[in-house]
């Protein structure tokens, strides 16, 4: 490491405020040439805002950025790219209908001729890059044909193609299998050895500790400390700023398995379905949930979890197989029948699927009961009942909003989830299907949501919890089902869950190699 030379990129006293929120406050850190530098922090700690400042999407309210010791001012992403800073976003910025080469050449100054572009020259350059950095990819393939891991490679080459010396990677492993993550780690380290710098944004302690040379911890928008630490527990307490053990306390209630006599409320038998592209998405899934039980479904996104929950909610039709709720068979593809049978569903896409953003909290809370009395007095609805029930639910579920007539799009993520849970829990459901319940929520809201789920199970609701966050699944579930390529590979009791083994199962045991 050449500590003597100026840092590849550095931020000094950067502050960025949004109306009502301070996203970054007095953040200072530097990235050396040839190092992998992690930005560690919880959701909402200001990591993404900081990376957006480094890549020219935002300008800081105060503070400044230096590149190789020179003060730099970015007016747009283009300026940041010109200064050699490139970003690989968590949600890929790729155009599915374009080829790999087209996506990489997009907006780049590296087009040999300004007017007509020379595809073969572009492709050559891509092949050269992919060979020297060991990132195999076919430049002529269309993006939609590629796996998630391959798409990420395209994103990385896209940044390298622009001669970036600093790569900022936002939660790069969130979408990858454990095996793919390991390959990525090797790639990043080899890039660092080649004189590039990598800024690695993550909240996963383990990978930060193993990949990064140095770690800057962000908490509540402030840079707490830059350390060379690779002890997970020490990093954890820096990150959360409190006793880590508190997170694990909630698990005790679920470590004991339920009595075998507890009735089964959800019975999925040999369910098969195809996904949006017409490929097999569910390949014979069988799974039971008993009353008062939380069954966690772990797995990397895209292994059939979405299709499974959509079928349970009636938003998608299955090809074959059966679903029984409390003994009664669920109609295929009906959204009303699950509601009638007491299946509640909290979708991952809360605003897009769960709520009508422009409608009020009260109206959203009435979404599933507007059809029946007391809310309805056909053909009319009673606004006064809707409002009164909403006020009561807001109280009970601690929804913080000016009033029940506030449109839901004005609410914070935590309150949005509370509105959804309030609605879904209020109809005395037998089964609750919930997908990624705490994604994007702040720490306080995560704790509230977890408590609500535990309370619901306590009161006898059978819960199917689908989450990519393995820690969450481990913390809440009685049993854990691991999904891989449309199948449930195994269901294990929480008490004898082996994290190592679940991780391997999520990657399809050891068959998959990137």
């Amino acid at each position: 490491m050449e500590a003597a030379t100026a840092p590849a990129v550095a931020a000094f006293h950067v502050t960025k405020k949004f109306p009502g929120v301070i996203a970054n406050e007095d953040v200072t850190f530097d990235v050396r040439v040839g190092e992998v530098h992690a930005l560690l922090g919880e959701n909402g700690a200001g990591k993404t805002t900081l990376s957006n400042i480094l890549t020219g999407l935002y300008r800081p309210d105060s503070g400044w950025i230096e590149v190789l010791g020179q003060k730099a001012e970015f007016h747009s992403p283009r300026d940041a790219i010109a200064a050699g800073i490139g970003m690989v976003h968590q949600h890929f910025r790729l155009i599915p209908t374009f080829s790999v080469a087209e996506n990489i050449a997009l907006g780049s100054a590296h087009n040999p001729v300004a007017g007509r572009f020379d595809m073969s020259a572009i492709e050559e350059r891509i092949v050269a890059l992919s060979e020297s950095f060991d990132l195999p990819v076919d430049p002529r393939a269309k993006i939609w044909q590629l796996s998630v891991g391959e798409q990420q490679r395209v994103e990385i080459i896209k940044v390298l193609y622009r001669d970036a010396r600093v790569l900022i990677m936002d939660e790069p492993t969130a979408v990858l299998t454990p095996v793919e993550s390991e390959v990525l780690a090797t790639t990043l380290q080899s890039m660092a050895r080649n004189g590039r710098s990598v800024v690695f944004i993550s909240h996963k302690l383990g990978e930060v500790a193993s990949i990064a040379d140095r770690v800057t911890v962000l908490r509540h928008g402030r840079s707490i400390e830059t350390v060379t630490e690779n002890d997970v527990t020490a990093l954890a307490s820096l990150m959360v700023g409190r006793d880590v053990e508190s997170v694990k306390r909630s698990t005790e209630s679920t470590t004991q398995s339920l009595a075998a006599s507890t009735p089964v409320v959800l019975e999925i038998d040999d369910l098969r379905a195809v996904g949006d592209r017409g490929l097999t998405a569910l390949d014979g899934v069988s799974l039971n949930v008993r009353a008062g039980e939380i069954v966690g479904v772990a797995g990397v996104a895209g292994n059939g979890q979405r299709e499974l929950v959509e079928i349970l909610a009636g938003l998608r039709r299955s090809v074959s197989g059966s679903i029984r709720v409390d003994g009664e068979s669920l109609e295929n593809g009906s959204t009303r029948h699950p509601i009638r049978l007491g299946v509640s569903y909290v979708p991952q896409d809360r605003m897009g699927t769960g709520l009508a953003p422009d409608l009020t909290i009260a109206e959203n809370m009435a979404l599933k009961k507007y059809r029946r009395p007391p809310v309805a007095r056909p053909p009319f609805i009673r606004q006064s009942v809707i409002d009164a029930e909403a006020r009561e639910l807001m109280e009970r579920f601690d929804v913080r909003a000016p009033s029940e007539t506030t449109p839901t799009r004005r609410l914070s993520g935590g309150n949005v989830q509370k509105v959804l849970l309030a609605r879904e829990m209020s109809g005395d459901p037998k089964v609750l299907v919930i997908a990624s319940p705490t994604q994007g929520l702040d720490v306080g809201a995560v704790a509230t949501v977890h408590q609500l789920l535990l309370d619901a199970a306590e009161s006898g609701v059978g819960i199917l919890l689908v989450s990519e966050d393995l820690d969450e699944v481990l913390a809440l579930s009685h049993r854990i089902a691991v999904m891989y390529e449309g199948r449930v590979l195994d269901v294990v009791e929480r008490s004898d869950a082996d994290v190592q083994r679940i991780g391997l199962l999520m990657g399809g045991e050891m068959e998959e190699s990137a």
Binding site: N52, L57, I95, F98, L106, A114, R116
Partner: protein, 321 residues
């Protein structure tokens, strides 16, 4: 009877003649739509172009080879100004593109600004002084079959062919075309690699508008050729349908334009030849055809993504998370 009086030759020749404004208008629209902006103001912009061209042709002195290019230029500018209003409202103010486009057509259209301007300029009382006449290219106008169809058209038709080739090349073979398509597919992605989304959208909506102006000039300088209120008679809407019909590809749109041109001329030609067929049926045919094609295209496109820009109709706000 010469082979060139054969009904298919006559209809093909007039299909190209009547299809020419559709080619220009749909090319203009495809540029806007490829950038992600739907512009329903085509009809209004065409009428603005038509009235501006009619004014220049009537009032500017000089030989035709000077006046006609000026008239086309005026048509382009007039229509582009109309498009600029739409661009400002939809791109900068992020107003609903459908309503804004309709507003443009109402503002500029048959009972709006074009008619107002024609009124105060006293247009429409006589044919325009200069018009685009049919040419005899390479002296082949009388050649069997191909003569009337390919070599006996006006200059505007030949220009439209160059435009189709140019637009195809631009969209699919140049860097700017690639960037344009990226803006229409995913403005977020385009922005993240430094393509100026807003500038691209403005430029293509406005240039697209100027094409609609040429389409309007086709009516007042070539087809009619004088000013009549509302003279484009709904062809601007057909142009919108053609973009979908041609899957956002200039070459296919050209085919579609001539198909619709053929249908428009079919009823006249058949009647002139004494066929007993209801004119009403034939008059309705292009519109019904459009609906049928749309149904087929929309169904197929939902399955196979035939080229509809993914971000079409959506205003772009930088997602700042």
């Amino acid at each position: 009877m010469s082979i060139n009086d054969n009904i298919f030759v006559v209809i093909m020749a007039s299909a190209i003649f009547y299809g020419t404004p559709l080619v220009f208008a749909s090319l203009g629209e495809v540029l806007a739509e490829r950038s992600g902006v739907l512009n329903l103001g085509v009809e209004g912009m065409m009428l603005l172009g038509a009235v501006a061209a009619a004014w220049v042709s009537t009032n500017v002195g000089g030989p035709a080879f000077v006046v006609l290019p000026l008239a086309i230029l005026a048509a382009m500018v007039a229509a582009a100004l109309g498009a600029a209003i739409h661009a400002f409202l939809t791109i900068t103010l992020r107003v609903n593109q459908i309503i804004s486009g309709l507003a443009l057509t109402i503002f500029a259209g048959a009972a709006g600004l074009s008619s107002y301007l024609a009124g105060i300029w006293h247009l429409g009382q006589s044919p325009v002084a200069h018009q685009f006449l049919r040419l005899d290219v390479f002296g082949l106008a009388d050649a069997p079959v191909v003569g009337p169809i390919l070599f006996h058209q006006t200059l505007l038709t030949y220009i439209s062919w160059i435009f189709v080739l140019g637009a195809s090349f631009y969209l699919f073979k140049t860097r700017m075309g690639l960037h344009l398509r990226a803006v229409g597919e995913s403005p977020q992605t385009a922005d993240s690699v430094g393509i100026p989304v807003v500038r691209y959208r403005y430029a293509h909506v406005i240039i697209g508008g100027s094409f609609a102006g040429i389409a309007g000039a086709c009516f007042s300088l070539m087809i009619v050729p004088t000013w009549v209120d509302g003279m484009t008679a709904g062809q601007g809407w057909i142009a919108l349908a053609l973009v979908i019909f041609g899957f956002w590809r200039p070459d296919l749109m050209l085919v579609g334009a001539y198909l619709f041109g053929a249908l428009s001329s079919l009823s006249l030609t058949l009647q002139a030849r004494g066929f007993h067929i209801s004119t009403a049926f034939l008059a309705a045919l292009p519109y019904v055809m459009t609906i049928v094609v749309l149904v087929i295209a929309s169904n197929a496109s939902s399955r196979r993504q035939l080229g509809a820009p993914a971000a079409l109709g959506k205003p772009y706000e930088r997602e700042e998370r």
